[in-house]
Symmetry: C2
Subunit: 200 residues, 2 copies
């Protein structure tokens, strides 16, 4: 997605060899216009799933805005997995999965109320980043537990030099990324399919 | 907002004398269509602020979807305050405030990167619930620290029998709620301005 790649190239910061900060337009400050374009792009890529999927699944917090922007186009609800031990407003009857966060360097639990994900539902997973694939695997585990069906995974930014996407695709999962980063060496972002363009 | 009140009456669950569960359409499963209507309604109520506000401020996680739905109509970015001690992708240079969560029964920190909220900005605060006003006060404190200006607070569901809204309005803050609940006694939700309608 050209618009997104340009935004990343212009504003995103490589703060550690494997950490890209996009908090200036995606996951702290959110550019509402870009968000709309992202939602529309997911609908274009997964056009064959419009009318088929019953839910979009994401994980709090930074996946929520993106999932909702996509959901408008699919006409389905968003279900966001909650992190942590829960509180008294959350259902007790939940599907849980453990997720290791490489950015927070800690294991956390993600959970979804059972009554909101039923057997036979067809689910599109949406998230902001795909790196090691830990969060995605947690959501896939929950879809599995629910005997629901995975339509695919839509990712805004995939760090292609980390193994998450490769492993998931090898397992037959449909993974679609709007921006696929090939390398972030020396603080410079290189996209997988537009190296020629970047060299201009 | 009639549509929202009907939805609350039909689906929401009073699970404790002061706890209303709306996770079936607002803060776990999110109805994308209702979300759009909520965003449009905030734009109608705060129509005088379109073109004046520079940012919508909310707090993760359940405020994000609502704030983004509103932001489309105002044409401004959303800034969401992060909870907790942060991680290595977040700015170190932040405004912080402490917030007591009555649902989680714990104090947490909310923070916003300084570079995303500048002196003189005009900010609309959006959140899902207003009860004791703790989260709202945390966000107002951050706006204060930034020498920014508060346009008002837009709330989806205000629990009018708890003191948050009353205290904020007494301080001269413009608080607008889409659904104002007067009482939840005996598990029954009564709205402040539509009692007659509810008795039908």
């Amino acid at each position: 997605m050209r618009l997104l790649e340009e935004r990343i190239r212009r504003e995103a910061l490589v703060v550690l060899p494997d950490v890209l900060r996009v908090d200036m337009f995606l996951n702290h400050l959110i550019d509402a216009e870009l968000l709309d374009e992202i939602g529309a792009e997911f609908a274009r890529i997964f056009a064959d799933e419009v009318g088929r999927i019953t839910k979009i699944l994401t994980v709090e917090a930074s996946g929520i805005a993106i999932a909702c922007a996509a959901a408008r186009h699919f006409g389905v609800p968003v279900l966001f997995a909650k992190k942590g031990a829960g509180n008294k407003t959350l259902d007790k009857d939940v599907y849980c999965s453990s997720v290791f966060s490489f950015t927070k360097e800690a294991v956390s639990t993600v959970s979804v109320a059972r009554r909101f994900l039923r057997p036979g539902e067809r689910v599109l997973v949406i998230d902001d980043f795909l790196a090691n694939g830990a969060a995605a695997r947690g959501l896939l585990d929950i879809i599995d537990q629910a005997d629901a069906e995975l339509a695919g995974i839509g990712i805004v930014i995939e760090k292609g030099f980390q193994p998450g996407g490769t492993v998931l695709r090898a397992q037959g999962v449909r993974v679609e990324s709007l921006a696929l980063i090939k390398s972030m060496s020396e603080g410079r972002v290189t996209f997988a399919e537009s190296e020629a363009a970047l060299a201009l």
